[in-house]
Each structure stands twice: as C-alpha cells, then as structure tokens.
Amino acid sequence: MTRQKVKLAFITNDSARKATYKKRKKGLMKKVNELSTLCGIDACAIIYSPYEPQPEIWPNNIGVQHVIARFKRIPEMERSKNMLNQESFIRKQVTKTNEQLKKQMKENREKEMTEVMYQCLTGKGSIENLTLPDLKDLGELVDQTLKDISRRIESLKIASPNEAAAAAPPLPQAVVGGSSSSMVVDNVSGRDEMQRGTQTTQWFTDWMNNPSEQNLGLGPNRIWPHPFFPDC
C-alpha cells in the first residue's frame, strides 16, 4: 500500500470520496473493536453517510442500544465533561502539539547552548556573534556547569581525601600557559587544543588583573550593576 500524504480537506471528487469513505469507515470500526477488546470496555460507533439511509454501526444494533442506554443514564453534566466535537477536539490537539513543540524547542536551545559553550571554551567559537539574550542564556549554562563541576569536585574530595592532597594545585598559568609537568599525561592532542584555546582568553586574565579595569565599570567601583552574574 503506497503511503500518500492526504490533504485534510473535503474530497471534492465524488468517487474518490466514496472510496475513501469505505476504506476509512472500515478502519474506524476495526479500531473501535480493538479498543473495546483490548481494554474490556463498552463502546459504540454510529456513522451517517449520504450513501445509505441506514447508519453504519458498531458493534450491532443491540450493542449500540446498550451503550447508548448506559450513556443516557450518566447525568448530563458529566456526559458533557468529556464530550467533544470536531472543533473542540482539534483545538485540544493543537494545544497539545504546541506544548510539545515549545518543550522541544527549549530542549534544543539548551543543547545548542551547550555546543556554543564548548566552542567558546576552546576559542573555536566567537562570542562576538552572540546577542544579549544569547549571552544571558550562555552565562546561565556556564554558571550551572560550574555548579555541577564544583559539586563533583567536592564529592570526589570527600570520597578520597588522599588523592585530593596529592593533586597539584592548578594555577591559572598552568591552565592557560604551557607547563604540563605537574599534569597527568593524558590525551595529549586534546590538551594542547585546550591550552591553545584558553590562550586566546589569556589577555583577558591579564587585563582583569590590570588596575585600569575601571574603564568599563568593572571592579570595585562598578558603574553598572552586573546584569548577568549578580553573585560575581
């Protein structure tokens, strides 16, 4: 059976419409049957078409009467609670899909930010291209990551305090510069990249240590309140 994307609109071609009706009606009845059997519940379906005076029904006359009788016994308020017509049903679907869409977009945005963060970390990405809202989100991600790292460091230190004492205290220069004598020789190529990348930020470190930082209002006499790192 070839899968053709059917446009969700009234089929104007009479024979095509009738053919579709026959097929889909059959499929619909099958689905009601399955629902009833699998879940052991009462169900019925009634379809009026222009092709026959009598309605198509499931399961059978007596079955439908039984279900409708049970239906009518339910007080009207309760009946209406979960009663849908096409319009209300589709609206519900739209709302649900919209929520899924927003959730997925938010998730994707976080993933994207993670990529950006790692790219900027190694100097491969430039933060100059980012807008202010982007920077805000990125900053928050970095903050969160730092929290996670610190937490992990703490738990490792608690687990094996000997190891912690033996670890060489990481100096900013060691990270940024080149001396790797105290470092564990590991993924050498990766480490080089890391150092190279952070070297591009070295001038910031120097700049930050420079007392003339007052130009931009950073440092003790801050002109502007720090918009993104209030605890900085």
Binding site: K31, V32, L84, N85, Q86, A164, T201, F229, C232
Partner: protein, 220 residues
C-alpha cells in the same frame, strides 16, 4: 544511529490486556487515536458521526460531528425527516466553519514539531561526536579531579569573557535601541511562539517564520 525512543510497532494479541497500567495507557492513547481518525473521516468525507466509549474506570468519553447528541438522538428516533442538518444554528455554523482553519493549524504545528525533533537528533549526534573527541566535553562524572579542576578554571575564564562582552553590548544597546524590543527575545508567556530564535548553529532544516496563530474563529 539515533537512540530508539520507543518500542515501535509491535504485534499485540487481540485480547484484553492483563496488566492494569498497560491497559490504562492503551485506553488513553487509542481513544485519542480513534477520535482523530473519526475527525479525519468527517473532514474528508463530510459524514455525521458519534462515538461513545467508557473508560476502564467508568468515565464516559464521546466524540461527535456535528454533535454527539444530535447523532445519537437521530439513531434512537430513527427519523428520516432531516437527513441533512438544515436546522444548524448560526453559532454552530460558525463553529463548523472554523474547522478547516484548525486542521491547517494542526498540520503546520505537527510539521514544526517534526522539524524540531530532527534538529534534536542532529544536535545529539554533534554532542556524541564531540564527547568522543575531546576529554573536557565528556560528562562530568567521567572526569578525574585534575581534569575537573582544569575544566573549572577554563569555565571561569569563559564566564569572565561572557560578562565583559555582555557589558559591552549592554552599554552599546542602551545608547541606541532598548534591548527588550529586539526580535530575538523569546516570549514564553503561554502564547504560541511569536518568532523562532535564529539558530546560532546552522543545522540544516530550521527556518524562522513568524507564527501568527491566534484563536481566530475563521469566519470573518
């Protein structure tokens, strides 16, 4: 290969499901699917329909076009007098007229969702590739103390860089246009997204078009 999100299509036995939780889930999902098929049948073929189902807990759910009650009563009374709903009130006519527009909205939204799902897969693949390549991109749990300390320092450098750049932009912007009027602000106020944020990483399939889906009633 992308991770499997669900079990996929599995052949099931056509008998009552034994596990209660499984039964509940199946009922919920299949009920929605059933109503969806019924809705499609109405749109495509212009038929009147009523479906009534009782949940395992005894709650009643119904779907009908144009209305459950009119179709049910028609069945009960067996009257052939009004085969076509000529007595549609104006309100109902409005309601029904909004259906094509709603169908369109739903189709568009589903397509957007599929696109975002693809984007997620692309991003996941990127992440996986990077994780295998660079030690500092591995999950934090996999790093040793040395590496963690080093990563921490780099992150703090980055943090400083970001705040400098942010300050710079902040100053620039406050001299010209107020920043909260820019197009890239994401509004998460419960409405449909006004404008998609421009992707920073160009994955192939995203495009930013404006969503202007309100709850229009379609008639005028």
């Amino acid at each position: 290969m992308a991770p499997k999100r669900s079990l996929g299509r599995q052949k099931i036995k056509m008998a009552q499901i034994q596990k209660k939780s499984h039964l509940q889930v199946t009922f919920s999902k299949r009920r929605v699917g059933l109503f969806k098929k019924a809705s499609e049948l109405c749109t495509l073929c212009g038929v009147d329909i009523a479906i009534v189902v009782f949940s395992p807990a005894g709650k009643v759910y119904s779907f009908g076009h144009p209305k459950v009650d009119s179709v049910v009563d028609r069945f009960l009374t067996r009257k052939q007098i009004n085969p076509m709903p000529t007595n549609l009130h104006l309100v109902e006519a409005h309601r029904i007229a909004s259906i094509p527009d709603l169908n369109l909205q739903q189709t568009h939204m589903r397509n957007e969702l599929e696109a975002e799902k693809k984007r997620r897969e692309t991003l996941d693949e990127m992440r996986k590739a990077s994780q295998n390549q660079f030690w500092w991109e591995a999950p934090i749990e996999d790093l040793n103390l040395h590496e963690l300390e080093q990563l921490k320092d780099s992150m703090e450098e980055l943090k400083k860089t970001i705040s400098i750049q942010a300050n710079k932009l902040f100053l620039e912007n406050s001299n010209s246009v107020p920043i909260f009027g820019t197009n890239n602000v994401i509004r998460g106020d419960g409405e449909y997204y006004e404008m998609k944020p421009n992707p920073i990483i160009s994955a192939s399939c995203t495009s930013s078009h404006v969503h202007s889906y309100g709850y229009g009633h379609g008639l005028f």
